[in-house]
Amino acid sequence: MHHNGSPRILVIGGGFSGLTAGIEAAETGAEVIIVEKNPYLGGRVAQLNKYFPKICPPLCGLEINFRRVKVNPKIKFYTMSQVESISGTPGDYTVKIKINPRYVNENCTACNVCAEACPAERVSDFNFGLNKTKAIYLPFEQAFPLRYVLDRTACPNDCPAPCVQACKYNAIDLNMQAETIEVKVDSIIVATGWKPYDATKIDNLGFGKVKNVITNMMMERLASKNGPTGGQILRPSDGKPVEKVAFVQCAGSRDENHLPFCSYICCMASLKHTLYLKEQNPDAEVFIFYIDIRTPGRYEKFFNKVLEQGGVNLIKGKVAAIEQAPDSDDVIVTAEDMLSGAKIHQKVDMVVLATGMQPEGMEFKVPGLKYAIDGFVVDAEGIYSAGCAKNAMDVAGCGKDATGAALKAIQIGLRR
């Protein structure tokens, strides 16, 4: 670099925004540390089947970014880690990072012998509880780092003995302890992202009470080849392929009883899910209940592309009641079709709630950061939020935002 000493940046969160921010900063010569709570990098988008509007796989972009991480000596990252404390001032922060034990060390060759031997199972959080994995598991096939993880809560005490023996390379280390390290950085990028809003809180939409009411993120897993159903969209209660599906927009979003803001992505997501369905069953009929269809900018084109499919019914009117059909596992959704001015009770095979984004900061707050009541991060000099930690936005938006955050972050470092 033409200036003395490269900026040191901490990136909290190794999802799409965090990776982008970290890599973009590092490629200007900055020293970057990425802290990720999951056992893998990639975050929320790793759970997506495809991106709108191109219907292309998230792994395509992640792969390139992983390569950029692999070849860049200026990027350090810690998985299964979280920030314990932040102290200091812009240009001179001291951060404590807690690294939780993975119980699988660098000897792991991802040969899968351990999983074959593993006696215990755990509910797959990656698949939103739609199926189970072994207690020792690979988060997903193209995960980076490509290394197994042992869930000790699912396999406590000496339960892991069989897999420990099975591993020829002593990769499984039950004595691994959590450790805390301390790093010094000039600036911090907060890219802690979001999680799906807990749909059980929306009591009139029946999630968890009425069969075959799922969330949009569950839909992503159902449609994914590496998901619980091998990519077939089958309804949970009886594994029946779906003919008629209702999408309930703003399930928890734009609602002061839940999330007061608009989650930005849900409209495009439901339109994308319509394409998933149409691909598997061209005769599938879809009902999208909306307040406003929000496909800003060039997404309008995507919107039209989906409408051309046929069998796509748009109903202006929010669904506010969901009940089980009296005689079957089908579901009845009720809404007012405002343009015809009549309530409709639509019977469908499955309901997809377009549940919104809850910023991680709503429940889990990183010590030393400021948050607004809605859970989004409040920036300060030296501390910059990026992506969905700042506002609800789409992947493209996160890319922009994270790159911008990277600039702000290096500026602090260069000022020294």
Partner: protein, 382 residues
């Protein structure tokens, strides 16, 4: 030819002032219409009413029975994602509607506007004080007592002419106001719409049945409590009506002057109804305060009626007890107070929230005749 819309900002403002402060928050998602158990499937409410109110489309609001089919359960308000409180807004609209239909205008204004609150009480007070003056009670005349020398309100203010005449006149006046109001309303409702049902009398009969059984109220999900409360008050009023009837019969036919012994049927019905009234009102108040957060506390209009009815009950009992206890001055005072409340209740019935019973009933009859309620069925499925 498309209908021409002239948005009326002034009316929108009136709604806001009348208790619809939250009106502007509505963004037309129609959660309210779906969570409302009283709303029919065809042209359901209250979403469209919210829009009409925002645009100040007075006609569309007044000429549609839905504002009365709403029983203010508050389910809509509780689930509203924007805090627009449709329940409260419709309440405000109903207030304006009553003002619009019940003649004479000035009275309507007095009742609707808090700044006249004193006036509406002072009028009857002066009236009765006037009567007392005429009887010379302020100029040294001794207040007469009953035959057996006991304290007696009839002796104090002889029913004929001092009570019955003015109150009959009052009742007559109220009835005329109601008649004119309802007539105008009915014409507006039926204007251009051909009634599906011709058996209006059956409709009326069914409506009365609904009211007596509180069929609609039962459907409220979030606010069950109010059914019992409201039912109590309703029957209390009926009871008191009966009491008055019998009393009149004793007085005019049997020429038997009150006071009557507590064991007498008229007393028993009267007292029971009185107690029912007090309990009912207490429950209503308790309920409103309990759900205030979720559904709003209600407007001046609501509380005026609550106060008046409560006043009638409380002063009624007070007067009775004080008479039994022979506490003179206070007794007479509370009796006068009682008369004042009763006066207010009757005189302003067509303009106070009291009018809801008449206009809602009318709307219900119309709804039945237009078969509006046919579609309030949740089972049927597209």
């Amino acid at each position: 030819m498309a209908e021409i819309l002239k948005p009326d900002l002034q009316f929108a403002n009136e709604v806001i002032k009348a208790g619809g402060e939250s009106l502007k928050k509505c963004y037309q998602c129609s959660t309210c219409t779906v969570v409302c158990s009283l709303s029919p499937d065809d042209k359901p409410f209250p979403r469209k009413e919210m829009l009409y109110a925002q645009w100040g489309l007075k006609e569309k609001l007044f000429k549609n029975p839905d504002i009365w089919l709403c029983h203010h359960c508050g389910d809509c308000t509780a689930y509203c994602p924007r805090g627009a409180k449709p329940g409260e807004v419709l309440g405000a609209v109903r207030k304006l509607m009553i003002k619009n239909y019940s003649p004479p205008k000035f009275l309507a204004n007095w009742v609707a506007d808090p700044k006249y609150v004193l006036l509406i009480f002072i009028i009857p007070l002066l009236f009765f004080l006037g009567e007392m003056a005429l009887l010379g009670y302020f100029s040294g005349t001794e207040i007469p007592r009953g035959e057996n020398g006991e304290m007696s309100y009839v002796a104090f203010l002889p029913a004929v002419p001092w009570i019955d005449v003015p109150f009959m006149a009052l009742a007559g006046f109220a009835v005329i106001c109601f008649y004119l109001g309802v007539k105008k309303y009915w014409l507006d409702l039926t204007e251009g719409t051909e009634l599906k049902r011709k058996d209006i009398y059956n409709c009326i009969y069914e409506t009365i049945k609904d009211v007596l059984l509180h069929k609609k109220f039962q459907l409220c999900t979030l606010n069950k409590g109010r059914v019992t409360a409201h039912l109590l008050v309703l029957y209390a009023f009926i009871g008191l009506a009966i009491t008055t009837g019998i009393a009149a019969f004793y007085e005019w036919v049997l020429r038997w002057e009150s006071p009557y012994p507590q064991t007498n049927i008229v007393k028993i019905i009267g007292n029971i109804s009185g107690i029912a009234l007090l309990i009912g009102m207490f429950l209503i108040i308790a309920n409103r305060t309990k759900n205030a957060l979720k559904q709003g506390l209600g407007s001046y209009f609501d509380w005026l009626l609550i106060t008046v009815i409560l006043g009638v009950g409380v002063t009624g009992f007070l007067a009775e007890l004080l008479r039994e206890a022979e506490v003179e001055t206070l007794g007479y005072a509370s009796y006068i107070a009682h008369l004042v409340f009763v006066f207010v209740l009757f005189a302003y019935a067509p303009h106070s929230k009291m009018a809801h019973m008449v206009y809602r009933a009318t709307a219900m009859v119309f709804a039945k005749a237009a078969m509006r309620e046919e579609t309030v069925k949740k089972e049927e499925v597209a």
